[in-house]
Symmetry: C2
Subunit: 546 residues, 2 copies
C-alpha cells in the first residue's frame, strides 16, 4: 500500500450555511468551494453536541457524548476511552495536531491507574491521541491564559509587547479613540484587529501546518488535524478581513415573533442568555456578522495557500482532505447567540471530503444528503487506512462507501441523527432546580422531523418539510402525538444500544457463542442420552468403575 495521508481540517463555530458551496449568497470561499468540487459535499452533517468540547471528544473517539461521558466543555475525557491515536497509530499512521482539541486530561483516572501524566501514554491521553505539534485551544482571556502559550511568544517576538497577553490585547482586541477594546465586547468588532493579517491566529496556524508538512520525513503516513480557532468568538478580524463584508452582505435573521410566545421553557432559558439579548439587536448582527464572514474568508485564503503548498509537494495526490466544523453559531437567528441548543444553526456543520483515489472519481463535485454525524469521521479514517471498524467501540460508520462507491438505492444507513447537550454549566441552571446529572437534552432528527427532549420540560418538535426554518414548535400539538411518540421511541432505541462493551469485540463474541460446551461446561444435561449428537469430547462422561 503506498503512503496515504489525511488532512483533517476543523473550524471552530463555523455555521453550515456560511460557505459559498453550502449556499451563502455573499460569502467568498473559493478554495473551500473548489475542494467541494474535488470531493463530496455532505449536506446533512450534525455534530454530536453543539458545544466545543463534547463535540470534539465525540469526533476524536467516534462515540456519542453519552458513550464517552465528557458531556461538558470542562469535563475530562476518561483515561480509558480509546481516541483517534489508539485507532490510527495501530494502523501505522501518525496523528499530528496543529490547533485546538479542547481535550481535558483525566488526571484522577491517570492517578488511579498509575499512568504518569508525563509518560508517553499519559501525554497521548492528554492530547486526545495526537502528537501536539502545536496545541492551541484558542480563547485565552487574561483569567486563564497559560504563560507558555506559543502563540503569545510568537506575537511578542513580532513586537506585540505592550501586554503580557497579546492573544487578548493584540489579536483579539481593536483600537478605538478611547483606547483598546477587548473583542469579548462585541460593539466595536467591525474595527480591525490590532494584529496584522500575517500575525493573526488563522495564518499562524496554517504556517504551523506547513511547517509540519515541510519537516515530516515522508516515511510514515500521517493524519494532520489542522484545527482552526476561528471564526469562534472573540469575533475580531485583522484588516482587510474586517471590512471585506458589510451589513449589506448579511442574510436576514431567521426568527419570528411567534417564537417569543409560549416558548418552551428550556429554549427560553437559552434565549434569555446575554448572547441572546445581544444578538436579538440588529446592530449586533450588523456589527458582528460581517466580521464573522471575514474570519471565514481568511480561513479560505489560508487554505488556498496550504493547498498550493501541498500541490507543489505532490501531497494532493495522496492525501484525503476533510473540511468541517465542530458546531455552528446562532448569530441572532431564533433570538439566540452562540450555540448550545438544537436548531440547525447550532447543530449542523459543513462537511466536505475530497478523496484523491480514482475510486472516488465518480463522486467528485456531488452532494450527499445522507444523515451524517461527526462520529462517522474516525471510522472513515480507519477504513481509509485499511483498518476495520470495531463496532463495539465506535458508534459511527465509515463514509468511504459514500465517496468511493455510491451505495445502491436502499442500502441501509441511519434514518435519524442524535445530538446531545448537557446544560449543567449554563448560568441559568439554578432557575431549573435541576441537579447537574439531570441537565440533559437530546435532539433526534430525521429528514422530516426534529425532536428535542429534555427531561422535565415539554418536548419540542419541528416539521422540517413544512417549516424548514424551525420556527413553529409542535411539541404541544395534539395532532402530533403520534410523531412525538415515534421520535421518543427512536431516542429510546438509540439510547438502549450497548456502547460500553469495549472489551468484547464482535468477532470474539461471535466465537464465544455456545462457548460453555466447548470448554466442557455442559449446562443442564440429564444424562448421556440427552446429549445425543453433541461432541462427546466436550462432555464429562461417567468414569469406569475402578
Amino acid at each position: 500500500m503506498s503512503k496515504q495521508n489525511i488532512l483533517f481540517i476543523m473550524c471552530d463555530q463555523l455555521r453550515y450555511d456560511y460557505l459559498g458551496c453550502t449556499g451563502h449568497p455573499y460569502i467568498k470561499t473559493p478554495n473551500i468551494d473548489a475542494l467541494a468540487r474535488r470531493g463530496v459535499n455532505f449536506t446533512n452533517t450534525f455534530c454530536q453536541s453543539p458545544s466545543c468540547g463534547p463535540s470534539r471528544m465525540s469526533t476524536y473517539t467516534g462515540r456519542y457524548v453519552s458513550s464517552h461521558g465528557s458531556s461538558s466543555n470542562w469535563a475530562p475525557l476518561r483515561v480509558g476511552e480509546k481516541n483517534i491515536g489508539h485507532h490510527l497509530n495501530a494502523l501505522g499512521m501518525r496523528t499530528v495536531l496543529v490547533g485546538k482539541t479542547h481535550m481535558i486530561a483525566d488526571k484522577e483516572g491517570m492517578e488511579r491507574l498509575g499512568v504518569d501524566p508525563e509518560s508517553f501514554i499519559g501525554v497521548h491521553h492528554s492530547q486526545a491521541g495526537f502528537e501536539a505539534y502545536e496545541r492551541d485551544d484558542g480563547v485565552h482571556p487574561d483569567g486563564m491564559v497559560k504563560p507558555d502559550l506559543k502563540y503569545n511568544k510568537y506575537l511578542k517576538s513580532k513586537g506585540y509587547n505592550e501586554d503580557d497577553n497579546p492573544w487578548h490585547w493584540a489579536a483579539n482586541s481593536v483600537d478605538t479613540d478611547a483606547g483598546v477594546r477587548s473583542g469579548f465586547f462585541n460593539d466595536k468588532v467591525d474595527l480591525a484587529a490590532r494584529v496584522s493579517d500575517e500575525d493573526s491566529e488563522t495564518p499562524y496556524m496554517t504556517r504551523r501546518a506547513i511547517d509540519f508538512l515541510t519537516e515530516e520525513g515522508n516515511q510514515e503516513p500521517w493524519l494532520l488535524h489542522l484545527s482552526f480557532i476561528k471564526p469562534h468568538w472573540p469575533y475580531v478580524a485583522p484588516a482587510p478581513y474586517n471590512t471585506m463584508y458589510s451589513s449589506k452582505d448579511i442574510i436576514p435573521a431567521i426568527k419570528s415573533k411567534a417564537e417569543l410566545e409560549n416558548t418552551n421553557q428550556l429554549f427560553k432559558h437559552f434565549m434569555e442568555r446575554v448572547s441572546g439579548k445581544t444578538f436579538a439587536k440588529e446592530v449586533a448582527r450588523e456589527t458582528v456578522i460581517p466580521t464573522y464572514m471575514g474570519l471565514i474568508s481568511q480561513i479560505d485564503d489560508q487554505l488556498g495557500i496550504l493547498f498550493d503548498f501541498m500541490d507543489k509537494k505532490g501531497l494532493l495526490d495522496n492525501t484525503l482532505i476533510i473540511f468541517t466544523g465542530d458546531h455552528g453559531d446562532y448569530l441572532g437567528d431564533h433570538w439566540m447567540g452562540d450555540k448550545d441548543y438544537f436548531h440547525d444553526q447550532a447543530v449542523k456543520v459543513p462537511l466536505i471530503i475530497a478523496d484523491p483515489s480514482s475510486a472516488a472519481d465518480g463522486t467528485r463535485g456531488s452532494k450527499e444528503e445522507s444523515l451524517v454525524e461527526l462520529i462517522d469521521l474516525l471510522p472513515t479514517f480507519i477504513e481509509y487506512q485499511g483498518g476495520s471498524v470495531a463496532r463495539n467501540v465506535l458508534d459511527g460508520c465509515s463514509l468511504l462507501s459514500k465517496i468511493r462507491d455510491k451505495e445502491t438505492e436502499g442500502t441501509k444507513w441511519r434514518d435519524y441523527t442524535v445530538s446531545e447537550f448537557d446544560y449543567s454549566c449554563q448560568v441559568f441552571r439554578p432557575k431549573t432546580n435541576k441537579t447537574p446529572l439531570e441537565c440533559r437534552s437530546y435532539m433526534v432528527a430525521t429528514k422530516e422531523w426534529k425532536y428535542i427532549y429534555a427531561p422535565g420540560f415539554p418536548p419540542v418538535l419541528f416539521d422540517l418539510k413544512n417549516d424548514p426554518n424551525e420556527l413553529v414548535d409542535l411539541g404541544q400539538s395534539e395532532q402530533h402525538q403520534d410523531i412525538l411518540h415515534l421520535m421518543f421511541s427512536k431516542l429510546a432505541e438509540w439510547s438502549l444500544q450497548y456502547r460500553q462493551r469495549e472489551t468484547w469485540s464482535e468477532e470474539h463474541n461471535e466465537h464465544m457463542t455456545g462457548i460453555e460446551e466447548k470448554l466442557g461446561v455442559p449446562i443442564g444435561y440429564w444424562d448421556e442420552a440427552s446429549a445425543e449428537g453433541k461432541d462427546p469430547g466436550m462432555l464429562p462422561v461417567r468414569k469406569e468403575k475402578k
Copy 2:
C-alpha cells in the same frame, strides 16, 4: 470512629424463595433466619443481570450492566471502571475475598494504559478491587481447570488423589455401581458427593474465611467478601446433605401449559435449551431440588459455625453482615432450567442486612418491601464506612436509611427496577439472526408490572398483582397498550440517564455553573452597559488609550 467491619456473604445461584425466612415451607436455614431476625429482610431485591459475571460486576462497581459494559460471563470489566476496592480502600477499609468474583481482567486495556498485570494496580483491577485471600470462581471442569487451583491442592492433600482434577471427580461427582458419575449430568445427583462434608467446597471456603478472621491484625477495618460457590451447579452435595431432603420436600413447579402456547419467541429459545428440557421432567426436579436444598442447608450450617466464631471473637458487635445471592435458578419453573431470563425465579435474590449499630435496633426482624437492586450494596458499604456516594459514578443508592432510620412515608425511592441480559453467547443465537451487539434484553419491574423488552421480539408483560406467578404474558394484549407504553418509557427514562461521567463529580459540576464568566470568558456581551451588575473584575474592560 471505632473500627467497623463488613461481612459480605454471597451465594451463587441461590433462589430468593429457598430460605426459611423468605417463605420456603420445608427448607431448614435456622442461622440465616436468625440473621434476618437481627437485621432487615429486603423482600424485593433484584440482580442487575440473571447471570453470574454481569450481576457481580454490577455489585462490585455499583453500576448497571449497561454502565460498566461487562454484559457477559466472558467479557472483561474495563480497566477504567472503579471497583469496590477503589471506593472502600480510599475510606481506609481493606476489601478481602474468599471465594468467587467471576472477574475477568481487561488485558487489552491494561496494555493500552501501560498497567503491568502483576503490579499492585494490575492485580487490584484483576481481582475487582479485592485482596484475593482465596479466589475460587467454582466450576472447574477438566477443560478449564487451573493447575494451581488451591482447592484442588487441598483435596489432594486430603487424599483425593485418584484424579488430576478432584474438584470435578471428587467434590462434584458421585459413585455409582457403574463408576464415577460427573455432576454435570443430573441423573444421579441424589447420591452423595465423593468428598466428605468437611472437604466439600462450602466448609472449605468457610474455614478460609475463619482463617482470615483469625489472622487479620485487628487494625484496619475490613470488608470480607465470603462468596460461596454453591448451590450453583454441578448440583452435588456431600452426605448427609444429599439425603436431608426428599421429593416430598419440594414445592410444585410454577408453570402452566398455557406458557407453551403462543410463547414469546425469545422466551421460547430459552425454554428450548437443554436445561429447560431436563427440568421440564418431574424426575429431574425430584432428583436435583432436594440436593439443591441440601447445599443451601449446608451453607446455613457453615454460617452457624462462622457466626459462632465471630461471636466469640466479639466481631458480631462491630460487623455489618450482608447475606445475598447473585441470581436465582428456575429449577423447572416456567419450563426452564438454569437462569438467564427474567422471571422472579431467575432475577430475584434474597437480601438480609444485619447492622450491629444501635441505630438499627428499630428495624431488627423487619421486612422491607422497597424495590432494591444489588447495585445498592456498594453505596451502602460506602455510607456505612462514612464516605459519600458519588452520584456520577454509582448508579445505586445506599440502603442505610432503610436500616437505621426508617424513611418517613413518601420519601422518594425508585419505583421501578431494571435488570439486563445479553444473550449473545447463548447457543440459540444463530437462530435469532442477530449480531452480538443486538442480543439485548431488559426487564423493567414495578410492584405492579413486569415488562421485558428485547429489540426484535414482541414485549412480554406480567400483571404482578393478578398473576404473581408470572404465567400469563400480556405483551400482545390490546387492552394493555397503555401500560406497555408506560413501561417502555420507564425503560427509556432509565436508559437516558448519564452514567459515564465518572470524571465529573456533582459537587465539581455545581461549582462550574457559570464558570466561563468566573474565568474571564464572558460570552456575548455587547458592551459594559450590557454587563451591568456583573462583577467588573470578571469582565474584560476597555483599556485606557496610551
